[in-house]
């Protein structure tokens, strides 16, 4: 019996599976598998969200404070300051040209041509006036287009 068994296992019949699967197992497996994968993806996304939440809350809070602060400063300080500086520059031009230029003419010209006098000309004009008033005059004529 023992010797017989020793060789029996090499018989071809052992190569046939004695295993079965529950009815419909393979037909239903893809649906079950996809459902499990979707759960994993959802849980992972939630974990990611929950991990980011404190970080995002801080960032959102800081961003909100900055935005509100920025608009606050812009509305209450920056705009009047800009206007004041613009006015100062016009005054500077008028002073430099004496009676030749009318303040309203310059302001209208700058606005119509969207010239940001604060950015474009002030520094250069101030420097040029100090160094060479004639060159400054030329520069202003070119810049303003008179």
């Amino acid at each position: 019996m023992m010797n017989k068994e020793k060789y029996i296992w090499e018989d071809d019949r052992f190569r046939k599976d004695p295993y079965k699967v529950p009815e419909g197992y393979f037909a239903g497996f893809p649906d079950r598998m996809m459902e499990r994968l979707n759960q994993i993806v959802t849980v992972k996304a939630m974990e990611k969200r929950s991990m980011m939440r404190p970080w995002m809350a801080w960032v959102s809070g800081i961003a909100a404070v900055l935005v509100i602060g920025w608009f606050g400063i812009r509305n209450y300080y920056w705009k009047p300051l800009q206007e004041v500086r613009f006015q100062e520059n016009i005054t500077l031009f008028v002073d430099f040209y004496g009676e030749e230029l009318h303040e309203g003419q310059l302001a209208g010209f700058f606005e119509d041509n969207k010239i940001d006098i604060n950015k474009q000309a002030t520094t250069e004009v101030n420097e040029l006036i100090q160094i060479d008033p004639d060159l400054a005059e030329e520069y202003i004529y070119e810049s303003v287009g008179f």
């Binding site: 052992f14 004695p18 295993y19 699967v21 197992y25 393979f26 598998m33 499990r36 994968l37």
Partner: protein, 183 residues
């Protein structure tokens, strides 16, 4: 042709809009092959189902980075084999902790498994196979049941043909000894 089709499936999987559909096609195409490979190593249906699901989760996660240096099936077969070996190692540790005779557990599980209809002799063979070290077990299963060539096995397992022949030889000797010593 088959490999071309696999390459198309991989491309589709990498497109998020087609990912689910492509994976369903991969499941439909390979689930049975992988199931039977795992089942022969693990024996019990419920455990096989768990390992098969874990295998496909790893495939899902790994597919975006799959470099296609081997065929899709070879790659998936390797994942299934590793998952089954991990499971078997855990089961061996568990058995060693809870039973004086680990064979009793697998005997009991095969007897109570409604999806196993082998006779007593076959059960004896399965227990002998199950007692092999995981690597020998894997080589024996692939050679004996899947009737794979040593060349294919070497390709899948990343080992030399000589090492595989030696493993198979040792496995056969151990199974023979198990039959000789059993009553």
């Amino acid at each position: 042709m088959d490999r071309t089709h696999d390459a198309e499936l991989i491309d589709q999987f990498r497109d998020p809009a087609q990912r689910d559909l492509a994976f369903r096609m991969i499941l439909a195409k390979y689930q049975e092959k992988l199931y039977w490979h795992i089942r022969r190593m693990i024996l019990v249906h419920e455990d096989t189902d768990d390992v098969l699901q874990n295998t496909f989760i790893k495939i899902w996660k790994g597919l975006p980075g799959f470099r296609e240096t081997s065929g899709l099936f070879t790659w998936m077969y390797r994942i299934a084999t590793n998952e089954a070996i991990t499971f078997l190692k855990a089961r061996q540790r568990e058995r060693a902790m809870i039973a004086d005779d680990p064979d009793d557990i697998i005997k009991g599980r095969l007897k109570s498994d409604p999806y196993f209809d082998g006779d007593e002799l076959f059960r004896k063979l399965q227990i002998a196979i199950d007692n092999l070290p995981p690597k020998q077990k894997k080589v024996f299963q692939m050679k004996y049941f899947d009737e794979m060539t040593y060349g294919d096995m070497a390709n899948i397992l990343g080992t030399s043909v000589g090492a595989l022949k030696a493993s198979y030889f040792h496995a056969v000797r151990k199974i023979q000894t198990a039959f000789e010593t059993s009553d």
